[in-house]
């Protein structure tokens, strides 16, 4: 009692001051807690929507589900391109603190080569840090198990099952089918232009060449989406919703891959091209560019060693000669010239010339191949025996404009519109072309002397094998012209609905039937008694053909001696053909680079292909080369 009283007396003032300070503290506390309350109100009421969205964004990740790419089969249903499932080891860079350390750690479990790292770096440089990027593809079961056991050590690293493209027949028809490869910046632009960007989220491969490129958007399919709940470590906890992907459409080709194999084998290791077309539809039966390459090498980015081999080879296997090789047609041009002569009224079938073995134009001698000449030559003989003088004369009589006009109608010097991108135009010589092609006025002028050798398919003439095949098919089909194409129909993988491609004639050339008959007859004559007779001896069908030899090396007056000339400078051998003669089912053009005479190396290839296509077997003792002297 005493103590309390004394303290009361002693410090009344102190006590008052203390109480004042307590009240002050209470006010401060109230203010501070109110501030917190206001903060909570701001976050939880005012900003609630914003933070809700943020929380949802945090937890929900929309994962694209890449559709299976469409399958490509030949006309008989043989699979040319398909998909198979394999495991890949993938890293999401944004979820990994130290990439190098992570990759090093993974390298202790699973073999990671320098090239894997390089590829990963490259993908990383493309700025895809929020996507999961493969560090290793095609893991073995054992590697998958080894990683699974240590997975907790590697946040942001996952094993994923992915579908890989595979070309089961390897190099067969690779120039037609093409290949897929990783999407690069240029592809991204193309995708963006086509407004397909949303559909390509998650897709990392795209068709780069051939049909894979041309039909990319059909083959790709529709990307599906899955909403996945993820935790802070980026691990998927559960699926919230799923929109399944739709597999890409399947392509069924007009190509007969068995025939293709026969044709490719017929070339052996020779360089060249072959295009075989069904005349009544324009469907391509075989499209050979030799040598070829294995498209499987490209799928995950080709290895430098493999690329060097392909790129540095003198044979240039990556060049699609059927579409991008341009060659003078040589004597294979003659049937078309003859038809032009008939159609323009410059010649009749019976009109003959006398061939002294050369053609004199303005004091210049244009040589015929046969010393001393072919004697009296009419149109039939001019084709069967391949008389040059006849065509020097014809070309001169017709003039360049008429030739160019007629040949242009046949598709020479124009892209055929085949369903592969990047086709070459070739050169259809004409005064207009010279004006476009050259800059100096004296070069731009067309000289009448230049018309002479145009008649025998030399000079500025330069066409792609597919143009030659298309023209042959058009003659075989009596002037009804089709766009050459590889895809017969596209099958929607969901509905099974088939969309046919063609056949709708590109144009109907108004040729007189008897004119076409004359040419076809003469071409039949080539294969029965002319320059193609040897190659087609004993064939169980009638066929029409024409040999050709295209000069690579100018003779300058000396005699051509094959052995004396380097192989690269030897003439190109050509052959065009159709069969059976009355109702052609196949028309083709063959070129063997530096093959010498057309009858020697190109015609036997045509024989093998036609035999196989019509009879289902190869000719007896099918010889690749023999020693017919011709042209």
């Amino acid at each position: 009692m005493l103590a309390r009283q004394s303290s009361l007396h002693a410090s009344d003032r102190e006590l008052a001051r203390f109480h004042f300070r307590v009240v002050l503290a209470a006010v401060a506390v109230l203010a501070a807690l109110s501030l917190l309350g206001a903060r909570f109100f701001y976050l939880q009421v005012v900003q609630h929507d914003y933070y809700s969205t943020r929380a949802e964004d945090n937890r929900i990740s929309v994962v694209p589900i890449v559709p299976n790419r469409g399958v490509i089969v030949d006309r008989a249903g043989i699979v040319l391109a398909r998909n198979y499932s394999a495991f890949t080891l993938e890293i999401t860079p944004s979820k990994v603190d130290d990439l190098e350390a992570t990759i090093d750690g993974l390298g202790k479990l699973i073999e990671i080569e320098a090239k894997d790292r390089r590829r990963f770096r490259k993908l990383l440089d493309e700025g895809k840090t929020f996507e999961s990027l493969p560090i290793r593809t095609r893991l073995t079961e054992e590697e998958v198990a080894r990683f699974a056991a240590n997975r907790y050590l590697f946040p942001g690293v996952e094993v994923k099952a992915r579908l890989f493209r595979q070309y089961p027949l390897g190099s067969t028809a690779s120039h037609a089918i093409g290949y897929i490869n990783r999407i690069n910046k240029r592809d991204l632009e193309k995708i963006a232009e086509s407004e397909e960007a949303a559909n390509y989220k998650g897709t990392d491969h795209i068709g780069k060449t051939g049909l894979e490129q041309k039909y990319e958007f059909a083959l790709h399919g529709e990307t599906g989406y899955e909403q996945v709940e993820i935790d802070a470590g980026g691990r998927a906890i559960r699926s919230l919703s799923r929109t399944p992907p739709v597999q890409g459409s399947h392509l069924t080709l007009t190509l007969d891959v068995k025939l293709q194999e026969v044709a490719e084998e017929a070339f052996g290791d020779r360089r060249g091209a072959l295009v075989a077309i069904e005349p009544s539809t324009g469907g391509i039966l075989a499209l050979v560019s030799s040598p070829t390459f294995d498209p499987n090498l490209f799928i995950d980015g080709i290895r430098n060693e493999d690329w060097d081999v392909l790129n540095k080879s003198r044979d240039r296997p990556m060049l699609n000669r059927a579409l991008n090789g341009t060659y003078p047609p040589g004597s294979t041009f003659k049937p078309f010239m003859a038809l032009a002569g008939l159609e323009t009224g410059r010649r009749t079938a019976g009109q003959s010339i006398s061939d002294p073995g050369f053609f004199n134009f303005g004091g210049h001698h244009f040589r015929d191949d046969k010393v001393g000449g072919h004697g009296t030559v009419d149109m039939y003989k001019s084709i069967v025996q391949s008389c040059d003088t006849y065509y020097y004369q014809l070309a001169t009589d017709m003039g360049i404009d008429a030739i160019a006009g007629f040949m242009g109608q046949l598709g020479f010097g124009q892209r055929t519109g085949v369903d592969i991108e990047g086709e070459s135009e070739g050169v259809l010589p004409s005064p207009e072309w010279k004006k476009r092609r050259f800059r100096r006025p004296e070069q731009q002028k067309w000289y009448a002397g230049e018309t002479v050798s145009i008649g025998i398919g030399q000079g500025y003439n330069s066409y792609t094998p597919i143009q030659l095949a298309q023209a042959t098919a058009t003659v075989a089909n009596k002037g009804v012209m089709f766009r050459p194409h590889l895809v017969k129909y596209i099958t929607d993988s969901r509905t099974g609905e088939k969309t046919m491609i063609e056949p709708e004639p590109l144009r109907r050339l108004p040729w007189k039937p008897q004119h076409v008959e004359t040419i076809k007859n003469a071409m039949i004559g080539v294969n029965t008694q002319g320059t193609g007779a040897r190659a087609f001896a004993g064939a169980g069908y009638t066929s029409g053909g024409k040999t050709g030899t295209a000069q690579v090396y100018s003779l300058k007056g000396s005699t051509y001696k094959e052995s004396a000339i380097r192989k690269e400078l030897r003439d190109h051998a050509l052959f065009i053909a159709f069969a059976p003669a009355d109702e052609p089912k196949i028309a083709l053009a063959v070129i063997v680079e530096n093959g010498g005479f057309g009858a020697q190396s190109a015609a036997p290839i045509a024989r093998m292909v036609i035999d196989y296509y019509l009879l289902g077997k190869l000719p007896k003792g099918a010889a690749a080369e023999d020693d017919v002297k011709e042209d």
Binding site: A3, V22, A25, V29, L43, Y50, E229
Partner: protein, 367 residues
């Protein structure tokens, strides 16, 4: 027999302050459910926290039985032992994550700075109580020095959270003991002038924490991550929350330290503004009760000690809630009776015990 039991009961509850106990128990219950939600996915800390709470309640009851005059006597030895231990830590402490806070005793290790949270106010309150009759300006200077020594040692470890709490506890004693306003004003002026220098003395990570507070997005994957994720958790909780055990930020592990320092984010996400309001109210009641006890205390020691303990509790609450909701930098301060962890729980319980002691021994002094 009945009589005996009644006497035992009276003895048990004699020094227990019912309102404080009730509020404490309520907070503990809320804390337990939240700790459960924050940890049940992996490894429930429920039982461990219940044990912590039992120990805390025992400590609270025990301290409540001790009259303030006896509590006072603990001030000097506790303070001296604490400071000596801090010096030992300074020289021989174990370094964990770049901070030297722990002292190894061979079989276990202790964090002496925790003791100072009680020892410093006890010591200072005793000091002022002893000199009550002759209080001069120099006493404030001495008290300040007594405070500064442990504060500096703890800040140097570095342990900003504990340093703030110890410093605050000591300052509150000096404040309630009557530190003149002009000195307070002068200190404030000096403090604001010294801010740039203080900035230079902060550790890099401490500076980063303050910077990220200004703009958390500058370092979204680094030190800003805590603040960003906890504000998302709070904001997405909305008015009534996502429901117990239903917080996505919590259960998908976006909230760091979710059962300890950031437990408020868990609570806010699942209980919403309503839960936060109730929580604030509980703390307000607790602080109000504490200030009431301080105001009614019969001795200087009782007044300043109760005031300091109460405002310390407030400091815990404000610093923790402020950092979790993104208005204060991230410092390691737990949320009283909510955060998982035995040490803070016991310290806070001892604090409540002291309040109870001061309140219930008033009458004894008088009689």
């Amino acid at each position: 027999m009945h009589e005996f039991l009644a006497r035992v009961w009276r003895g048990l509850v004699a020094h227990v302050d019912a309102p404080l106990l009730l509020i404490t128990l309520t907070l503990m219950a809320v804390g337990l459910t939240t700790v459960y939600s924050a940890t049940y996915d992996a490894n429930s800390h429920l039982l461990a926290q219940m044990l912590n709470m039992a120990i805390g309640l025992c400590a609270m009851w025990t301290v409540a039985q001790v009259p303030p005059q006896k509590l006072m006597r603990f001030g000097v030895p506790l303070y001296l032992v604490g400071v000596v231990l801090l010096i030992l830590v300074f020289f021989f402490g174990i370094k964990v994550n770049g901070a030297r806070r722990w002292l190894s005793l061979g079989f276990t290790r202790i964090q002496p700075s925790e003791v100072l949270k009680i020892a410093v106010p006890l010591m200072l309150a005793w000091y002022f109580h002893k000199n009550e009759a002759v209080l001069k300006f120099r006493h404030y200077v001495v008290a300040s020095l007594l405070l500064l020594v442990p504060f500096a040692l703890i800040a140097k470890q570095p342990d900003l959270g504990t340093a703030i709490l110890v410093g605050a506890a000591g300052f509150y004693v000096i404040f309630f003991a009557g530190l003149p306003w002009r000195v307070i004003g002068g200190l404030l002026a000096i403090a604001s002038a010294a801010t740039p220098f203080a900035w230079g003395m902060l550790h890099d990570y401490q500076r980063k924490r303050i910077l990220t507070l200004v703009d958390p997005t500058t370092d979204p994957l680094g030190s800003g991550y805590h603040i960003i994720q906890s504000t998302i958790a709070i904001g997405s909780g909305g008015k009534v929350g996502k429901g117990w055990l239903a917080g996505t930020q919590t259960h998908l592990e976006f909230i760091p330290e979710r059962h300890t320092d950031f437990i408020l984010a868990v609570f806010s996400e699942e209980r919403g503004l309503l839960g936060n309001g109730i929580l604030l109210l509980l703390y307000l009641l607790m602080i109000g009760r504490g200030l009431m006890i301080a105001a009614r205390a019969s001795t200087l020691f009782g007044r300043v000690m109760a005031g300091s303990v109460t405002l310390s509790l407030f400091t815990y609450v404000f610093v923790n809630m402020g950092m979790v909701s993104g208005i204060l930098p991230v410092v390691g301060v737990p949320l009283p009776f909510m955060s998982y962890g035995g040490t803070a729980l016991v310290t806070l319980s001892v604090g409540i015990g002291i309040l109870m002691s001061i309140n219930t021994h008033r009458m004894l002094v008088r009689s």
